[in-house]
């Protein structure tokens, strides 16, 4: 699908969608949203870019293979569960800073867990999509 409209739109939609995904990620703890949905939205923004400009261009844009996000995300989630253990609390107990940060809001170990999920979802979704489109391209 090489249409000029989609191509132009995707250039603006990519950063917008990414920003939106971060917004969804941050509001997620008490309101609908969170790491999983945020990650999907972020992945979709890249998929849209790939539709408009071709997979190879999205590859160039990403610089690293999205696969690397999977262990990073898993590690981040795991560490966020570890932190409470340093304070003598059970694994995965939510620890929060007392004061909210500007823009971001309340920051705690649960947020880092969500960020980990966000990365894993982006990594997994893009790896799957890239792999599938690679094989279909080979067959063509």
């Amino acid at each position: 699908m090489k249409t000029i409209i989609l191509k132009t739109a995707s250039r603006y939609l990519l950063p917008l969608l990414l920003l939106f995904s971060v917004f969804i990620l941050l509001r997620g703890h008490y309101l609908p949203g969170g790491g999983f949905v945020g990650g999907l939205v972020a992945a979709i923004s890249f998929v849209l870019h790939a539709f408009a400009n071709g997979l190879s261009n999205t590859r160039l844009l990403l610089k690293y293979h999205p696969r690397i996000l999977i262990p990073i995300g898993l590690g981040l989630s795991l560490l966020s569960g570890f932190v409470p253990m340093l304070f003598g609390e059970p694994f995965m107990k939510g620890l929060w800073f007392p004061e909210p940060l500007p823009v971001i809001g309340m920051v705690g170990s649960a947020l880092f867990f969500d960020i980990g999920v966000y990365f894993v979802v982006i990594g997994v979704t893009l790896t799957i999509l890239f792999t599938i489109s690679e094989t279909t391209q080979l067959e063509e």
Binding site: R67, I70, P71, L74, G75, L78, G81, F82, P84, M85, E89, P90, F91, M92, K93, G94
Partner: protein
């Protein structure tokens, strides 16, 4: 007692898996990391075992949410014994895989998946929440499915599809059971369920729910008539993977049966009868199936099915002695079955075949190695004083006390056939002269350097030593089994440990 030590067997595997993903293509480093992590876990789970042995039940509320609402991790002696056995087999398998698994497989993420699988196993043993148990089962299925099909040869995919179809069905049935149970009681915590299910007056409904769990776990632990997926899939993956599957995967099903049917659904006459009938049929069909097979791994697969019958029979009899027998058998079986699959891999490396008629004269070529393998084989049969002998005494005692002569008959028949099959295996693979006319296979084992040979044989020796200890130090293992059986017969310490310290804050 709240203690974070409980989650270490789970977290360590997850952490190792994450680190291993970073070293995806670097096979040499992966092997070292995997073996080191597993060695740490053996020590860690041994410490956990001694602590639960000395101090009773440990609990950990994940996220500090109090018991019936949050997810509880519980380590009693039963759980920690299972974790210890998992760590031992995990360590043996990861050492063996360093040489026994091809580099191509390693590059497709063999080691991270192995650790995800072990994490799932440990999680299933340690969780105190029935829905969480389901989640761990899913983790086990997904990682084992990928491990089984890794390499993508045609028979592997075929076996993998049968495996996944059967196990997904089991999950659906298990999940339905959980849903009904939640509808009845409004709780998912196993200790809480134990209290609440006992109070429900409609026992027929409880029995039907119990049957859903029985079918779900029955498929996973491969009892009659739900075992057909096992012999048609376990011979396809490489031996190192088959060792984890054969040693541990069906045993998770048995663990879940033992846990759920002592804690939540205490067997009444109907359930006890069903369990015994199933056990008898499993013992017989497994034994008959194994006789006609002509391939070492398929024989072993049927023997897995056959021997699950012993453990289910002990549960069906439901006395302290019978459960002691079941648990002793469980401990012995995990070690022996893991080792036997490793041995079959070793035979394959040496002879290039695992078909009975093509193999032969192994004893002439490798007398010491053959004696080692003989030790493992005859431990499985239970030639006294080796390990398989002792649990059967307990089972006999319990069955005589309950006057269930059908079960005694089935146990005798199954033991006899196991002996016959083992003798046949020994005669065909080790004593018989190598058949002429078969294309000579170059001995891969002989061409390895000392380092490679050591890595292949050490895990077998290690597990053989543990098996030997189970046989010769039977007194200690029996003490552990009796202790666990008492825990299972009287779950109140477990329940109190989970729910006792609940303080509901306003």
């Amino acid at each position: 007692m709240t203690d974070n030590h409980i989650v270490l067997p789970v977290i360590t595997h997850l952490f190792t898996a994450v680190v291993l993903i970073f070293f995806w293509k670097k096979t040499r480093i992966s092997r070292i990391i995997s073996v080191v992590a597993n060695s740490i876990l053996v020590i860690s789970s041994f410490v956990l075992f001694t602590r639960t042995w000395n101090a009773g039940v440990f609990t950990m509320q994940a996220g500090n949410w109090p018991a019936p609402f949050g997810i509880t991790f519980v380590a009693d002696v039963f759980s920690s014994t299972m974790v210890l056995l998992t760590s031992l087999s995990g360590m043996a398998v990861s050492m063996y895989s360093a040489v026994g698994v091809s580099k191509a497989r390693m590059k497709f993420g063999y080691f991270p998946l192995l650790h995800f699988l072990l994490m799932g196993l440990n999680g299933a043993f340690l969780t105190g929440d029935i829905f969480n148990l389901y989640v761990w089962f899913e983790i086990i299925i997904i990682s084992s499915f990928v491990l089984m099909t890794l390499g993508g040869r045609k028979p592997q995919i075929e076996g993998g599809i049968k495996y996944v179809a059967a196990n997904l069905m089991a999950s659906v049935i298990f999940l339905t059971g959980i849903a009904i149970l939640y509808g009845l009681t409004g709780s998912l915590n196993m200790a809480d369920l134990s209290r609440k299910v006992a109070l429900i007056p409609n026992r027929h409904l409880i029995n039907i729910t119990a049957l859903l769990f029985l079918v779900g776990f029955g498929i996973k632990s491969a009892v009659f008539p739900l075992f057909l997926w096992l012999p048609s899939s376990y011979h396809t993956p490489p031996s190192a993977i088959a060792a984890v599957f054969g040693g541990l995967l069906t045993k998770v099903g048995v663990y879940a049966l033992l846990r759920v049917f002592t804690l939540i659904f205490v067997p009444d006459d109907f359930i006890a009868f069903t369990l015994m009938a199933v056990a008898t049929a499993t013992l017989l069909t497994g034994a008959f199936g194994a006789i006609i097979q002509k391939d070492i791994r398929r024989i072993l697969s049927y023997l897995i099915v056959c021997h699950v019958g012993y453990m289910v029979a002990g549960l069906g009899l439901f006395t302290e002695t019978a459960l002691t027998g079941s648990l002793f058998y469980l401990i012995h079986d995990i070690m022996v079955k893991t080792n036997l699959f490793l041995v079959s891999g070793l035979i394959y490396k040496i002879k290039g075949t695992i078909k009975l008629e093509q193999a032969g004269s192994l004893y002439a070529a490798y007398p010491k190695l053959s004696l080692l393998m003989a030790l493992v084989l005859f431990s499985m049969v239970g030639v006294p004083p080796l390990s398989g002998f002792w649990p059967k005494i307990y089972l006999f005692q319990a069955a005589f006390a309950a006057h269930s002569y059908t079960v005694i008959g089935a146990i005798i028949v199954a033991s006899f056939f196991t002996l016959y099959i083992t003798a046949k295996l020994w005669a065909e693979v080790f004593w018989k002269d190598a058949p002429t006319g078969v294309a000579r296979h170059s001995d891969l084992y002989n061409r390895m350097n000392h380092y490679g040979k050591a890595l292949l044989v050490t895990p077998v020796i290690l597990l053989a030593i543990v098996t030997l200890y189970i046989g010769l130090g039977a007194e200690n293992i029996a003490r552990v089994s009796v202790h666990i059986a008492q825990e299972l017969m009287d779950p109140s310490p477990y329940i109190n440990a989970v729910l006792g310290e609940v303080v509901l804050e306003p």
